[in-house]
Symmetry: C2
Subunit: 120 residues, 2 copies
């Protein structure tokens, strides 16, 4: 599919799809005309990129992660980043943040449970 369709189906601006390519996150095939041709699977990839970006990872880190996700998808990509240490660190960082948020939410739940009594 062309970039316009991918943009429509993912809700991600074409500008960003080109940007992600430049950052090494996407490698669509090119027609002789220069047009980008994307696979169906690129839809998932783009959504993954968006998710990881919104989780605070930068494009460089995501570029290290994505090839391994491809492997999981079944494709036998020969290359995989060397250091999972960095990934573990990112994971731990996320875990902390999740715990942080969960504690906040639990607290909020407690407040909500009590609130009707103390407010009304």
């Amino acid at each position: 599919m062309l970039i316009g369709e991918l943009s429509r189906r993912t809700g991600v601006h074409e500008r960003l799809l080109r940007y992600y390519e430049k950052q090494g996150l996407l490698w669509p095939e090119r027609a002789p005309s220069g047009y980008r041709h994307y696979q169906e699977s690129d839809i998932d990839t783009v959504l993954r990129i968006r998710r990881l970006l919104s989780a605070g990872l930068n494009t460089e880190t995501i570029a290290q992660v994505l090839p391994c996700i491809r492997i999981k998808a079944g494709n036998l990509v020969p290359v995989c980043p060397e250091t999972t240490d960095d990934l573990r660190r990112q994971r731990d960082r996320l875990t902390h943040a999740i715990e942080e948020l969960r504690a906040s939410r639990d607290l909020l739940d407690a407040v909500i449970a009590v609130a009707p009594l103390t407010l009304s």
Copy 2:
């Protein structure tokens, strides 16, 4: 404590402590001189802010979350003037953020789990 000490004890640049204040994340008392005076508890608050920021939340979102975390510290803060509807909305926001982060972390976990197998 003054801003310099808070900066030293949290490892966060003074510039950022002032910035967080401007974004409504910190509200230190002010001496007549204009000097900021922070509480011990602000250390935890700052570390929380850092963690949430590094998890991809922006200062605006964090500003909505922080007041409810204060309650946990034991203070019966008369702030939090929101109705329970607002609280529920915040809770839902938190839930959504948590799900987002958890999906990202699970993704990382999957990558980490696969990586060693394909490397050795």
